[in-house]
Symmetry: C2
Subunit: 206 residues, 2 copies
């Protein structure tokens, strides 16, 4: 959509900024801008300020690299959690997904990315040293690798395995297989093949 | 998604604010927030400021009620446009859509809404008086009603018709019919019926 005929500098700037959000085009951005124009000034100021102060003031946990209000995130600061189990994930989003299941009581280590030579991201760009220090320093029983299964994720998992294996720590990875509710017919070959190869003892649960 | 386990106040605030945008849920808002967290501080400040200053500083054209940088919008200020034809639309978005066609050289009148008793919006809440003053004051030949065809849009069109008809001005409405490229088979009955009733002389264009 071309704005120039009714060129309004302020609107145009705001639309440009809003359309920088991932997955948002000019049309949605315009919709957002017109919505914001209809809101009371205080609300729009709160909107803008909350974003800017998030960016300015957010900290990263010195332990696990997760975003945090203080020096330690709420997971690492929680003494009821199992600090001997560390789950390595790519991003905060993965942490939120795992936390939502309620199945995990250990702590995390957020890499913030994966090794990706194409994007110029090497092992040194990720907080892998920090992970090693955690494993060496504290008594850690198990490191769970919960990275994605793409080429880069697997490269990273392999690298971590190589680095961690001399450290006398159990290295596991999350179970892959046919999702609950999925039809075998529509499951990709790789997943189905692995799920048969890695079959488990049947345990009926009520 | 529940944030509480990794409750980060700053992130939570920003996600809440971003999810207030139309059509954006918590999940997309989180995606936006994590994206913004990865951007340089200056960029995020520019993002926030552009939105807040848009809301604070934007003006409305004293003539046609369109948003504007100054007292007159760029359409009303443009002397090459036909000021004797006024197209009445509901919102700026309609103006942008019509401008994008390049078919219209007249000016606009942006109502900013339609008469909607359910939402407590009466004729007095819309700049209809201003439209009447424009028609009475200047030499206006034609008023084009380009409002939506829903109940409220039609009520508003009818109200405008009643108010404007004593004023010796031609009142028209945009043509409705089967869209170019549409199959008759899939066109709704009302549109197809009207498009036959309002058929036009065939004029072959090369």
């Amino acid at each position: 959509m071309n704005f120039s005929p009714v060129g309004n500098k302020l609107l145009q700037d705001a639309v440009e900024q809003l359309s920088s959000l991932p997955g948002i085009g000019k049309k949605s951005a315009l919709r957002f801008a017109l919505y914001l124009l209809k809101q009371p000034v205080e609300n729009v100021e709160r909107f803008g300020n909350s974003i800017v102060s998030m960016r300015r003031e957010i900290k990263y946990c010195t332990e696990c690299n997760m975003i945090s209000d203080g020096p330690k995130c709420s997971v690492c600061a929680d003494q009821r959690r199992d600090h001997r189990t560390i789950c390595v994930v790519e991003s905060l989003r993965d942490v939120l997904s795992i936390e939502a299941t309620g199945e995990y009581r250990g702590v995390y280590h957020v890499l913030g990315g994966v090794i990706s030579p194409m994007d110029g991201i090497g092992p040194a760009d990720l907080p892998i040293d920090a992970l090693c220090r955690r494993v060496e320093g504290a008594r850690v029983d198990e490191v769970i690798l919960a990275l994605s299964t793409g080429m880069e994720g697997e490269t990273t998992s392999f690298y971590l395995y190589k680095v961690l294996s001399p450290m006398n720590v159990k290295i596991t990875t999350i179970a892959r297989g046919v999702a609950f509710g999925d039809d075998l017919e529509y499951t990709d070959q790789l997943t189905l093949g692995k799920s048969i190869a890695n079959r488990q003892i049947f345990s009926p649960e009520i």
